[in-house]
């Protein structure tokens, strides 16, 4: 199962400076564990006490996972995951 994850600049040093990495899993938690095996330390930057870190936003096919099921959000083949820091928008 191929799921592509795009990482923000700040996390790339933990992933051999890659902008996009492939992962596997039926849930977001599994997909993060899969990445952690190749890139130790990445999980700790995303997850804290079993939940997403406050200033980390993760999107599956552009939808914020906090409204899908958090770390239990389901994944399917071909899904696209984006990891982004929370920033101020608005005008």
């Amino acid at each position: 199962m191929a799921i592509q994850v795009s990482l923000p600049t700040i996390l790339r040093p933990l992933a051999k400076d890659l902008r996009r990495v492939d992962t596997e899993g039926e849930t977001l938690a599994q997909a993060i564990d899969f990445l952690e095996a190749s890139f130790p330390g990445l999980k700790d930057r995303l997850v804290e006490d079993g939940a997403l870190r406050r200033y980390v936003n993760i999107y599956i096919n552009d939808e914020d996972v906090r409204f899908l099921g958090g770390l239990d959000s389901e994944l399917s083949d071909g899904d696209r995951i984006d990891v982004l820091p929370a920033v101020a928008g608005g005008q």
């Binding site: 600049t9 870190r53 200033y55 939808e63 914020d64 409204f67 984006d82 929370a86 101020a88 005008q91």
Partner: protein, 316 residues
């Protein structure tokens, strides 16, 4: 009513127009709330007027006072208009990479501008404004990201207007910036129609904006309450520009890029409703017209070119 005592009295009560060409089915309809019809041409007139009048009522703001605000454009333009008519001085802290039109408009309306570094985007403007505010304790910072009057403007205005014009509303879609529109109108609609879905469309910027962000120093507006929302979509510049152009081509509405991002989310929901066979009346916010963004390159050339042009800009 179309006659008002002065310009400030004409803020709000904007039209809601149907989009018969973009609506995907007879029972799945899209409705645009034309906030560009406000006095300075954006939804922000509502929050600016409400925040200034709340500060006056609380005694925080007296004639001749100086207002300081972090803003990348529209809120500044709205505050400048209200400040001019009410006799305040306005200083805006804005990222140096916002469009040229916005800077010029602010100066035209009499605002003074302090720029913050492009890298770091609005986060940096907020940080700078807080710093300047601490050095100038007599200046009044209304702080749109945490000022309850911002959300209240939409609870008292946008929300009731939507429900009155579209009692059958099933979805409300708006941009997620200060979160004022979604929090205020969202709460009002939820209280009166518990099943209504409140959907946020959040701009996804280019690398430069996120580039130097530390994940531990992120920013979440104080007004934001996740429980008001049903779902939240991240929309990149390519999709936003494509839908912004579609809105003009098919429905004749000339809107800014952030409206394109909102329409993208609204059309995604509409498509899901058609697939599920459910009826829907989806209202979304047209934040402003396209005039202020002509220099960004979003309105000409191919989508690839527009996407390249917007990279690194705060387009919403």
């Amino acid at each position: 009513m179309t006659r008002y005592d002065d310009l400030l009295s004409s803020v709000g009560r904007t039209p809601l127009v149907g989009l018969p060409r973009l609506s995907p089915a007879p029972n799945v309809r899209l409705w645009a709330k034309l906030e560009d019809r406000n006095p300075t041409g954006s939804v922000k007139d509502r929050a600016a007027l409400a925040m200034i009048e709340a500060a006056e009522k609380e005694g925080r703001l007296k004639p001749g006072d100086t207002i300081l605000e972090p803003t990348s454009g529209n809120t500044g333009i709205s505050l400048a208009m209200v400040a001019k008519l009410k006799g305040y001085r306005l200083i805006c802290v804005m990222p140096e990479n916002v469009s040229a039109e916005r800077t010029q408009l602010l100066r035209m309306w009499g605002a003074e501008i302090i720029t913050s570094q492009a890298a770091g985007g609005s986060n940096e403007a907020v940080r700078r404004a807080k710093e300047i505010s601490a050095q100038n304790p007599d200046w009044v910072m209304l702080y749109q990201y945490g000022n309850p009057a911002n959300a209240l403007a939409h609870y008292n205005g946008t929300g009731p207007e939507l429900l009155a014009d579209l009692p059958e509303i099933t979805h409300f879609v708006a941009g997620l910036g200060t979160t004022g529109t979604l929090m205020g109108a969202g709460r009002y609609l939820r209280e009166h129609k518990p099943d209504v879905e409140i959907v946020a469309a959040e701009p996804r910027y280019g690398e430069l904006v996120y580039g130097l962000r530390n994940l531990d120093e992120g920013f979440i507006p104080e007004l934001y309450d996740e429980t008001v929302l049903t779902s939240r979509f991240s929309v990149g510049p390519r999709d936003a520009v494509a839908k912004m152009r579609m809105l003009l081509e098919q429905e004749g509405i000339f809107a800014g890029v952030s409206t394109g991002a909102i329409l993208h989310a609204a059309m995604g929901i509409a498509a899901k409703c058609v697939k599920a066979g459910t009826a829907a009346d989806i209202a979304f916010i047209v934040c402003d017209g396209g005039w202020k963004y002509l220099s960004t390159g979003a309105y000409e050339g191919t989508l690839d070119e527009a996407e390249d042009q917007l990279d690194g800009q705060l387009w919403a």
